[in-house]
Amino acid sequence: MLEQSILATSVWRGDAEGGEFQRFEVPRRDSQTVLDVVTHIQQELDPSLAYRFACRVGMCGSCAMMVNGVPRWTCRTHVSKVSGNVSGGGGELQIAPLRNLPVIRDLVVDMAPFFDKWTAAEGVFRPSETRAAPMAKVQPGSPARAAANAGIECINCAVCYAACDVVAGNTDYLGPAALNRAWTLVNDARDGGQAERIDAVSSEGGCHNCHSMGSCAQFCPNALNPTAAIAGLKRETVKAKLGWRR
């Protein structure tokens, strides 16, 4: 039954100048993912379709796209979950490049602004010791380590960045992923770049622009909560400003 039905799929085609949706009819299959649909189109229907993927198992964070208007990791998104139940057919899919990032071609966006903001948020580990120093002792149960652990499984897929309405309205805003990364490092006892990081996330595009709408937490495929991380940064930056931070 499922094998015979057809999935009506609209895929955005174009480049930085603009574009439009193109219709494809894709055979519906069992356990089919959105990435399977895109791959079918590229391999069987139109080899000129540009898209990006690597691991296909939700580790690398390269296949995120807008699926029916919502940012998703397409390799781990089953068609059955998102295509709706169009009677007599296999449902409908609309696939577009990630929001809030410049399009290069078709479903491929330029991730440079996203990663530039990781750097701008001081999302880089700054060692406080040399490699000759003994291994740092970090208690796994300490509050700081627990806070870092909560945010550490980010795969840099930019789903949160695409979901964020503050990013959409303010291109200077560092965004949920970069700030979440900064928060994990603020809670890293081994890091020696805290003052610079606090300054970086206190700047004009920093954590204080977050309206706590929570789209990042809602759409994060790894169920992280950047909204909570940003709230943590707000607390720490205020403490630093008032001189209450150690």
Binding site: G169, N170, S202, G205, G206, H208, N209, T237, L242
Partner: protein, 113 residues
């Protein structure tokens, strides 16, 4: 749009306004029991340092709070940046402050004292 200084100012002014708003509402509801005239209001407020201070603080907090809020909104919705954004923020702050101080002055200055 919002750095830590503006963020803090907006939170602090919000904190200030919580008791002020409540005080304003409670006194208003209490005072209108059994009717109220402009003369009655002025007789209580004119020459009163307490009411001058109360509403003076209210006006200052509201001017700062509102200007920062409108700054964020105009940056995100209208795309204002740089000098334009700074000018708008200060403009809103000074306009609200001027209007508010004028009103506070009008009801507290002079009078029978």
């Amino acid at each position: 749009m919002l750095d830590v200084r503006l963020y803090l100012l907006q939170r602090l002014t919000a904190l200030m306004m919580i008791p002020l708003v409540l005080g304003h509402l409670v006194v208003m509801v209490y005072a209108v029991q059994g009717g109220l005239t402009a003369a009655e209001i002025l007789s209580r407020t004119q020459g009163s340092l307490v009411w001058g201070g109360f509403y003076g603080a209210f006006v200052l907090a509201a001017s700062i709070h509102g200007a920062i809020g409108l700054r964020a909104i105009s940056a995100e919705v209208l795309g204002l940046r740089g000098v334009g954004l700074t000018a708008l923020s200060w403009g809103v702050f000074l306009t609200l402050l001027l209007l508010g101080v004028r009103a506070v002055y009008a009801v507290t200055a002079g009078g029978p004292a």
